[in-house]
Symmetry: C2
Subunit: 324 residues, 2 copies
C-alpha cells in the first residue's frame, strides 16, 4: 500500500508530463499555469487512496485521478473571474495575468479535458463514472451559485451555509473518493460510504478554515488571522454568532460590520471578543467534532481489512488535529 | 420517416417541458431564457434526422438530441460574454440582462446539463458518445480561441480561416449528425461519413453567411447588408480580397479599413466594388460549390436505401439555394 506522500509524488510526476496540453498552446497555457502552481493535490490523492483500498495497480487509475485535479482547477479558473480574485496561492490569477476571456475559455477547455481524463476507466464502470461526475460537477456549480447569492443576502441560516459549503467544497472531496472506489470495482455500498466519508471530511475541512481564520496560530496556519472578519465574510462563525448573540451583542456585531472606517486590529479583537462571549468557539468545535465522528462511522462501513484503511485513519487524525 | 418540420416540432415540444431546470432556479433561469429564445433548432434536428436514417423510434434519441441543443446554448452564453455582445436574436444577452458572472456560471451549469442529456443512450454506445462529444466540445473551444486571436492579428490566411470556422461552427453540425447515427447503432464507416457530410455543410453555411452579408438580398437574408464590411470583420471575402487584389486595390482596402470617419453607405459600396473587381464573388461561390459537392460525395457513402436519404438531399438543395 502507498503512503499519502508517495501518492502525491506519483500525481506530481504525472502532472509534470503536462500531457493535457494541446494545440493551440495559447488555449492551454493558462491551464498549465494554474496547474503547475502546486497545492496539495488533495483530490487526486484521495482518488488513488480510495482505489488503493481495493487494488494495488494504481497506475491504472492515475489518468482518471488527474482528471479530478484538472476539474478542480477549472472551477478555480472560473471562480477567480467571478470573485474577481487577484491572487491564488501567492501568484496572479489567470484573469489578472491575461484577461477574463482567457480565464473563461481556458476554463471551458479545462472542463472538457477533465471529462476526457476522468472517463479513462474500464467500460464496465463508465456509466457510473459519468453519472457520478456529472452530479458532482453540477453540485459544485450550485454551491458557487449559493455562495455568490449569500454574499448579498442579509441573513443566511446555519443550515443554508452548511448546505452551500457542502455543495461547493465537500461534494468534490466526496466525489474524488467515490470515483477511486468506483473505478476499482468496489460494490455500491462501499463507494457510497466513501462518498459520505468524504462529504463529512470536506465539511470538517471548510469549518476548520472558518475556525482557523479567527482562532488559528498565525505561524501554523500560514495566513493572516482575522481576514474573514475584516471583510465581513459570512462564515460559520459569523452566522452562528448572530444566532447565539443576545440583542446587545448582535447590535454591536452589526455596528462593526457596517463601519466604513476602522482600525483593523481593533475590529478583529472586538469581533473575536463577541465570538468568545456568545460561545461561537465551542459551537464550531462541537460541529467539527460531530462531522469527524460521522466520518469515522462512514469509514467503518467500508469492509476492507483494517490495515488497508490505515491511510484514511491517518487522514482523520491529521485533519482532526488541524483545529488545535 | 419524419419531415424536418415534424422533427423541429418534436424538439420544440420537448424543450417546452423545460425538464432541464433544477434548483436553485436562479442558476437555471438564464439557461431557460436563452433556450426559449427559439432559433431553428438545427443541431438537434440533424441528430434526429441522422438517427431516423436507421431507426424510426426517434423518441429514444430525443433526450440525447436535446443535449446537443443545450450544449450549443452553453457556447452562446460564454461566447456572448467574450464578445461582449448586446443582443442575441433580437433579445438582450444573458450577461447584459443579468451580468457576466451569471452568464459564466449558468453556462457552466448548461455544459454539465448537456453532458447529462447527451449520455442518455444505450450503454453499448456510451464510450463512443462521450469520446465523440468531448472531441466536438474541445474543437468548438479551439475554434473560439482562434476566432478571438484572429481579431487582433494583422494577417489570417485562407487556410487558417477555413480551419477556424470549421472548428467553431462545422464540427458541432458534424458532431450532431454523427451523434444521431452513433446512438442508432450505425456502423463506424457510416457515422464517420455523416460527420464528414455535416462538416462540409457547416462550412457551406458559414461561407454563405459571409457571402450573404455582402451579396444577399436584404429582404430574404433578414439582416442588414454590409455589417461585416463596416466593422472590418475578417470574413472569407475580406481574406480572399487581400489575396487576390493587386497592389493598388490592396492599398485602397487597407485605407477603408483604417478610416476612422466614413459614410457607411460609401464604405460598403466601395469595398464591394473592390470585391467585385478582384473576383471575390466568384471565389467564394466556387468554394461553396466545392464544399457542396464534397458533402454530396460524403452522403453517397451512407449505405441506406436512397428514399431514406431524401431529407438530407432536401437539405443540400435548400442550403445550396441560400446563395442565390
Amino acid at each position: 500500500m502507498y503512503t499519502i506522500e508517495q501518492l502525491r509524488e506519483i500525481i506530481k510526476g504525472e502532472l509534470d508530463k503536462q500531457e493535457y496540453i494541446e494545440i493551440p498552446y495559447s488555449l492551454f497555457e493558462p491551464i498549465k499555469y494554474i496547474m503547475e502552481d502546486g497545492g496539495k493535490r488533495l483530490r487526486p490523492v484521495l482518488t488513488l487512496m480510495a482505489y488503493n483500498l481495493y487494488r494495488d495497480d494504481i497506475q491504472k487509475a492515475l489518468k482518471s485521478a488527474i482528471g479530478i485535479e484538472i476539474f478542480h482547477n477549472y472551477t478555480l479558473l472560473h471562480d477567480d473571474v467571478m470573485d474577481d480574485a487577484e491572487l491564488r496561492r501567492g501568484r496572479m490569477t489567470v484573469h489578472k495575468k491575461w484577461n477574463s476571456n482567457v480565464a473563461i475559455l481556458s476554463g471551458d477547455a479545462a472542463a472538457i479535458t477533465a471529462y476526457k481524463y476522468i472517463e479513462t476507466c474500464e467500460d464496465a464502470y463508465l456509466r457510473n463514472v459519468i453519472d457520478g461526475f456529472n452530479q458532482v460537477a453540477m453540485d459544485v456549480c450550485k454551491g458557487q451559485q449559493y455562495d455568490m447569492e449569500f454574499e448579498t443576502r442579509e441573513e443566511v441560516s446555519e443550515e443554508e451555509y452548511i448546505h452551500m459549503i457542502y455543495l461547493k467544497t465537500s461534494v468534490l472531496i466526496a466525489g474524488s473518493m467515490r470515483h477511486g472506489a468506483l473505478i476499482a470495482g468496489a460494490p455500491k455500498k462501499e463507494y457510497d460510504a466513501l462518498y459520505d466519508f468524504g462529504g463529512y471530511l470536506g465539511l470538517v475541512f471548510q469549518l476548520q478554515d472558518d475556525y482557523l481564520d479567527v482562532y488559528g496560530d498565525v505561524e501554523e496556519f500560514g495566513k493572516k488571522i482575522g481576514g474573514d472578519i475584516l471583510c465581513n465574510k459570512k462564515t460559520y462563525l459569523l452566522i452562528k454568532a448572530f444566532e447565539l448573540a443576545g440583542e446587545e451583542d448582535r447590535a454591536l456585531l452589526k455596528q462593526w460590520m457596517t463601519k466604513g472606517h476602522f482600525d483593523p486590529e481593533e475590529k478583529i479583537r472586538e469581533v473575536t471578543a463577541i465570538y468568545d462571549r456568545v460561545g461561537v468557539k465551542e459551537a464550531v468545535m462541537a460541529k467539527i467534532d460531530d462531522y469527524l465522528e460521522k466520518s469515522r462511522i462512514a469509514l467503518e462501513e467500508i469492509e476492507v481489512p483494517a490495515e488497508r484503511k490505515v491511510r484514511f485513519q491517518e487522514m482523520i487524525a491529521y485533519i482532526g488535529g488541524r483545529k488545535k
